[in-house]
């Protein structure tokens, strides 16, 4: 048997391939992104980066109804966007198997919250599968397709950051044949008008009863009886690994992998067989509530934190007790190292200019690399909620400020990918409301934060096929924004950005600014910049520190002079040159 070291995300992709999945769609979001990136390498599987998670899931539902085993993947907050189709397909069920991967992010490694999406399985009345490592990611995906087709139900496949981004050895099997389940018209099943939906609800409740019977016998849920039956641990997902780490192989464990519907008979049997019960799970008391509802008292969220990500130490400290302190400490502090905008990042010019205008412009942010503009020294915006809110939020916020006599104009910003995701509908609201706001699209030609995925503005898709690129500026014009209320500027041209702000503040009503410059980490851009960098002439530098105001990580201020300390990361973007009044900075390697 071939064994390979795989991340959870790689293993999910591999499992889907082995299961004969032939359609996959997703919107990039950490920690889920690599699933589609790995699937897209397999030519037989039609893989797509969708515009958002809702369209991703809808595409996959279409493929499932049409007869292809399909998969949609997203980060946990993405499922909020896709909740509408999820709850509908919970009623319709599937034709070919449908797996929806939700990659939750306890600990908020790169998210705005740490919601536990297992709760969606209850809401949408879908099956819920939780693997605990890479091997199970692969194996359980295959099982999930079987469950989906056998019980005519979508499967929510719940993983977390630590599973997605941890690697372990995985035994590989042969890729499966791409099965097609012939499409059969069935309006009563797939048209969720009220009369049909009521009928489908009945069918779903019945199938959940059948699925629970299956859950009680499925290999996804298993007893691991140890020598010790005084204590019994009920756990699922990554928490299983922490339980094994802390309590060892002697502990008795009920390891759950199929958790909606809950295998209640199995839980009862296990809990009856032990004296004391610990429920170890990350996030919400999802299993614990069931154990308690079955009449068992247990230790759970009263000791194991509901907050953040668990690890073996946290579980040990909560349930066994603290280890004595026996490590090293020194009295020297490491200075903080927060993530920053890269050297040469086009957003830097925008945020520097925005800061200069803070007396007359107040800004709302959004999700993407430009989220980093909230940090010092730019402190570029006041809010970050969810994708698209940077634009639509301005409509209400500007009204509120207006009623308080605050003369500042409200600005909202989204990136190009976020604009396509949901910013475009927000902008339609802005225009239709004739809101007195500035809507900015910071177009860097890529979905950057998640690691450079193509988007609707790209002329290639995830599998490298040529596709028509959506012209973002033409789209905005098409919404009726006249030329005098639209500026397209290079964000590294500080004068042009300032003029755009001036023009935007001078008029009442919507104004749109599009900043256009590709991310410096895009391969072609990076290649073109190799060898180019700026340098400071120490004889001309007077040490005024003006160039440090742009907070470029390639620059340093040492011995009362500025210097390009990291020429390898400098892209010669020239922003520092625009700051210098003494002509001390020049480009080399042109």
């Amino acid at each position: 048997m071939v064994k390979e070291i795989m991340s959870g995300n790689e293993a999910i992709a591999r499992g889907a391939w082995e299961a004969g999945c032939s359609f996959a769609s997703a919107y990039p979001g950490t920690p889920s992104t690599e699933i589609i990136e790995n699937l897209s390498a397999i030519k037989e599987i039609s893989s797509r980066w969708a515009n958002n998670e809702k369209t991703a899931l809808e595409m996959a539902i279409g493929a499932s109804i049409g007869g292809l085993r399909s998969l949609a993947a997203m980060k946990h907050v993405g499922l909020n966007v896709a909740a509408d189709p999820l709850c509908a397909v919970g009623y319709t069920g599937v034709n070919a198997g449908l797996v929806v991967v939700t990659a939750d992010d306890p600990g908020c490694h790169s998210s705005q919250n740490e919601q536990d999406n297992r709760l969606y399985a209850l809401l949408a009345k879908v099956a819920l599968v939780e693997p605990s490592d890479s091997q199970e990611c692969k194996d359980f995906i295959k099982e999930a397709y079987e469950i989906s087709e056998r019980f005519d139900i979508p499967v929510l496949f719940r993983v977390t950051t630590r599973i997605c981004h941890s690697k372990g050895l995985v035994e590989l099997e042969q890729p499966g044949e791409m099965l097609v389940k012939p499409y059969q018209q069935n309006r009563g099943k797939y048209c969720m008008l009220p009369a049909n939906a009521r009928v489908r609800h009945v069918a779903r409740e019945e199938s959940l009863v059948e699925l629970e019977k299956f859950a009680n016998t499925s290999s996804l849920n298993r007893f691991e009886w140890g020598k010790d039956r005084k204590l019994g641990i009920v756990t699922s997902g990554i928490s299983y690994q922490y339980a094994k780490e802390v309590f060892g192989d002697d502990a008795s464990i009920l390891k759950l992998g199929l958790t909606n519907p809950m295998p209640k008979a199995l839980i009862k049997e296990f809990c009856t067989g032990v004296d004391e019960i610990y429920v170890i799970e990350e996030g919400e008391p999802f299993i614990e509530n069931v154990v308690k509802a079955l009449g068992f008292s247990c230790t759970g969220k009263d000791k194991v934190p509901i907050l953040g990500e668990l690890n073996a130490s946290i579980v040990r400290n909560a349930l066994v007790g603290h280890k004595p302190q026996d490590g090293y400490s020194v009295d020297v502090q490491a200075p903080p190292r927060p993530p920053v905008l890269c050297a040469g990042c086009p957003h830097r010019g925008f945020f520097f200019s925005l800061k200069k205008n803070k007396k007359r412009i107040v800004a709302m942010g959004d999700i993407g690399c430009y989220s980093l503009g909230v940090g010092e020294p730019f402190a570029g915006f006041e809010t970050t909620l969810c994708m698209g809110a940077g634009i639509s939020g301005t409509i209400g916020f500007s009204k509120a400020l207006e009623k308080q006599g605050d003369p500042r104009k409200v600005l909202g910003m989204v990136g190009d990918s976020t604009f396509f995701h949901s910013g475009v509908t927000s902008l339609i609201d802005v225009i239709h409301a004739d809101a007195n706001v500035i809507a900015c699209v910071l177009d860097n030609s890529i979905t950057a934060m998640t690691g450079h995925q193509v988007n609707a503005g790209s002329n290639k898709d995830v599998q490298g096929y040529e596709v028509p690129a959506i012209d973002l500026v033409a789209l905005i014009r098409g919404l009726g924004v006249p030329d005098e209320r639209l500026r397209v500027v290079d964000p590294l041209d500080l004068k042009a950005v300032q003029e755009a702000f001036d023009a935007a503040v001078a008029v009442k009503g919507p104004f749109v600014i599009v900043t256009k410059r590709p991310c410096v980490l895009i391969k072609e851009v990076a290649r073109a910049n190799v060898g180019r960098h700026c340098q400071v002439d120490p004889d001309k530098c007077v040490g005024c520190k003006a160039c440090t105001l742009i907070a470029c990580p390639a620059m340093a201020f040492k011995d009362k002079k500025s210097m390009v300390a990291d020429p390898a990361s400098c892209t010669a973007c020239g922003l520092c040159m625009q700051m210098c009044k003494f002509d001390a900075i020049s480009r080399v390697g042109e």
Binding site: H109, K167, Y242, E245, S313, A334
Partner: protein, 190 residues
């Protein structure tokens, strides 16, 4: 017996490549392995951490405080930041290379001048390795990671694997010789 290795550095320094080569080698030696790396926002110049655990059977992918047998740090203050994770009598391997974070560059925080001295007073097994300097000398800063791999292989006596041969699977052909040289240089450093 499970061994825990922590790799720490700054986004872009190549910790991930080093962990890929290392885990492939450990797999070849027949160990069970868990490796954990969190990426996302931390790529943008922030602190990066890779956790590698190997042994007969490994469950949890992460390494808690006072649990690391070995820490390899690609940057000086990152070693300092990771120090609470080092087990008593564990091994700290750190490059003395300095990378200034934004709070340091903007004068909001100070880069400590005595990081290594203060660690040397406490940590019995401290190896200060000029891997970045060596990489520069060899002609490419990007081989710092493979130089540090050479050091680690020597320290942990992981000689059952032909690491240099394995490098061919992970680095471009034209950079292979350079990486082999970096590995040898690291191996010879202690």
């Amino acid at each position: 017996m499970t061994k825990n290795i922590l790799l720490v550095g700054v986004g872009g320094q190549g910790t991930i490549l080093m962990s890929k080569v290392l885990t492939a080698g450990l797999a070849q030696m027949g160990y069970d392995i868990k490796m954990s790396e969190i990426h996302g926002m931390s790529q943008r110049g922030g602190t990066v951490t890779t956790q590698i655990r190997y042994g007969d059977k490994v469950y949890a992918p992460g390494i808690g405080e006072q649990e690391a047998d070995v820490i390899v740090s690609f940057e000086k203050v990152e070693a300092l930041r990771a120090l609470p994770f080092l087990k008593k009598n564990g091994i700290m391997i750190t490059d003395h290379h300095e990378i200034y974070s934004m709070p340091v560059l903007t004068g909001k925080a100070e880069y400590p001048s005595n990081a290594l001295e203060s660690m040397a007073k406490e940590v019995e097994n401290l190896y200060i390795i000029p891997a970045m300097e060596k990489a520069l000398e060899l002609g490419n800063v990007r081989v710092q990671n493979i130089c540090l791999l050479g050091v680690l292989v020597k320290v942990l006596k992981l000689d059952a694997v032909n690491w240099k041969e394995m490098l061919a699977d992970f680095v471009p052909q034209k950079a292979l010789d350079l990486n082999k040289q970096a590995f040898d240089a690291g191996y010879a450093m202690i």
